[in-house]
Symmetry: C2
Subunit: 402 residues, 2 copies
């Protein structure tokens, strides 16, 4: 869904008309950088940095062990979870922050397939690798067949399906309501991977009937590198689930030190070990930015930024990895020299990333990007292509993380 | 093992003779606090706070996504793991920092029992609850019987045993070499939970034949609240193990984005999702304190601090939770009013913690405590008992975390 054709197309007017342009002040972005990779690692909100300092000094250094009570560390996974619940349309107590997406997907899918013996585990064949690895591993543990599906097709023997709401390469947005309707007919459970969607799209899990989700804290939620992830489980469903990584923080009464496991109520049972408080505190503060924000404005702006970028780079002739439907917050342009072009662009301060094969990925985080940023980034990409600057040998050097 | 009977027993001489007293300068402890709970949450080393600031600002804020390469975030789990390897006598590549103790125990025990079909999972009946919960959960998943054992007895059908090297209540130290010898005879695998031992005891996994361990980063390693945990797996053994939480960070080539899982070499295969970098960076810096430090000095000092504490509180008549053997870094004194007495003590700045039933737990972290601290703490405990100050109603109020 691109911006309306009659909308003003010059960046300056778009910026003036942007209802959320003031949110940029929440961030302290480095000089000379246009950051088109907030979909991979969100930049730090000022309040996240301030909170981290407070947590490290006033809470850890001065409060020491007392801060588990006095600074409320013990409830932080639930408090941060409640903020994420607001962002995705869930209720209080239905979201907990814990562990990583990988670990959370393992917990949730394992608990769900255990209730559906004889059914299959399903994952898209081009899904983010971790989601495929976890489902494959679980198929061995539970003796369930693994089905690699395509384009959201749900087979009739499906027990548990994992699916990204926004795809990590195409940014294609799945039809949550339609998928849930099909799943309901056959008794299957869908776990939505919201990693590339939470904090960007106007998700409404209740409206669309979604009952389970996982997602990461470090992309559009801006929680910091490797920020803890989350689990959403609708209240009535959560009570039926026994997740396998039974740890004290998911216990109904951890400080009774009872020898037998009794899961906590609701999503809290998906907690396991002691949470990484420093990382969690930064995320919790970052989530405050979304308080009272209409998520539809974010989704619209992301799409509009993306449309402007595609318009301004159209003449370069790079094929766009297409979505055949609504697009989330990033686009991929293809070039067999994509890796080198992206390196040359990063060297000039326009930061995107690279995904094989040959995809230059550009993300349009609406909280801190302006239309003027997009216009400048597109112009710089044009320059690099025109001057063939990307042919410099230094841009071919592969780094570990792309 | 108490200090030799002929050692000088006044705190001032003990402090003057303490070969590691200068390490205290690594910490910036709050005024008026004697911290006897470093066994539960270590205080922040100055260098951990400095590193956290650097990671948050220069790396996250200024470097953004580039810091995965430029600041070496991608290798941090291995680099921190190599530092822990030094502390426990393992080799490079045998320790990885990841997730929590709960999650790591799940991964390791699951991989090990899968190779020992028909064998049992064993855990001490008074082991730290999470260890019991995880083994119980795994017994259901793998259809293995669960045995609650006592006093280190290893049944002949044992497949996988989890055991704390230092017990969380008694601080009793297990005989690692003897247990490993028995396990070797029957083909069982022992997972040592080093949570209350790493960074305190002179562990030598190679000398004692230990092949597998997990442990936490936030106690004697001072890595920060909920700091990431670690997994140790001896090199030859690690290569045989398929841990079930297959995530991209444990993949041999994560940035190939291959659809099939291929585990990394060595302990690295126990990584799963994206690591919580802020928390991990603090831990990594905290570990630097141990560089070049003879762990025997730490172990001896902890025991000597504990002996002084027991000597100076002996007249109060609290029964000591005994170890029937060498003791680690903490002691528990029993009183039916233990909760209130501990609260009164904390209110005066002497911080220990409480474990049911009625146990006042005092930890003796040798890196930052002096003998003078111990003497003062014992005197304050005596005062509180004498004045019966603990009877004030405010000290009966239960907090969430004890």
């Amino acid at each position: 869904m691109d911006a309306p054709k009659d909308a003003p197309r010059d960046a300056a007017s778009l910026d003036r008309a942007d209802p959320i342009r003031a949110r940029r002040d929440e961030f302290d972005l480095p000089e000379g950088v246009i950051y088109l990779d907030g979909n991979s690692l969100g930049p730090p909100p000022r309040r996240a940095l301030a909170r981290l300092t407070k947590t490290a000094t006033r809470e850890w250094k001065d409060g020491l062990i007392r801060s588990w009570n006095d600074a409320g560390w013990i409830d932080l996974p639930e408090r941060a979870g409640a903020k994420i619940a607001q962002i995705i349309g869930a209720d209080d107590g239905e979201v907990i922050v814990a562990d990583s997406v990988t670990v959370n997907l393992f917990k949730l899918a394992s608990a769900l397939i255990a209730l559906r013996p004889g059914k299959s585990l399903c994952v898209e064949g081009d899904e983010f690798p971790t989601d495929q690895y976890v489902m494959d591993a679980l198929s061995k543990i539970h003796g369930a067949s693994l089905r690699r599906i395509e384009g959201g097709a749900i087979p009739d023997d499906a027990g548990v399906i994992v699916r990204s709401l926004a795809h990590y390469k195409t940014a294609s947005i799945a039809d949550m309501a339609a998928a849930e309707a099909k799943a309901a007919r056959i008794g299957a459970a869908i776990i939505w991977d919201l990693s590339h969607a939470a904090g960007l799209l106007a998700i409404d899990v209740k409206r669309d009937g979604a009952k389970f989700a996982v997602g990461c804290g470090y992309k559009y939620l801006n929680g910091g590198p490797g920020a803890p992830a989350f689990v959403y489980a609708a209240r009535d469903e959560a009570q039926k689930l026994n997740q396998p990584i039974a740890g004290w923080m998911g216990h109904a009464a951890p400080f009774d030190f009872a020898p037998d496991y009794k899961p906590a109520d609701g999503a809290k049972r998906f907690a396991a070990g002691t949470p990484a408080i420093l990382s969690l505190a930064a995320l919790d503060a970052a989530l405050e930015i979304f308080d009272g924000l209409d998520m539809r404005l974010l989704e619209e702006k992301a799409r509009s930024l993306g449309a402007l970028f595609l318009e301004r780079t159209d003449a370069l002739g790079f094929p766009v990895l297409d979505t055949k439907g609504p697009r989330g917050g990033h686009v991929c342009l293809h070039s067999e020299n994509g890796y080198q072009i992206m390196q040359a662009l990063i060297a000039k301060g326009v930061i995107g990333d690279f995904r094989p094969p040959g995809l230059m990925r550009f993300g349009f985080s609406p909280l801190f990007l302006s239309y003027a940023d997009i216009e400048r980034a597109a112009a710089m990409l044009g320059d690099i292509v025109k001057t063939e600057e990307w042919r410099q040998p230094e841009y071919s050097k592969r780094s570990k993380v792309t």
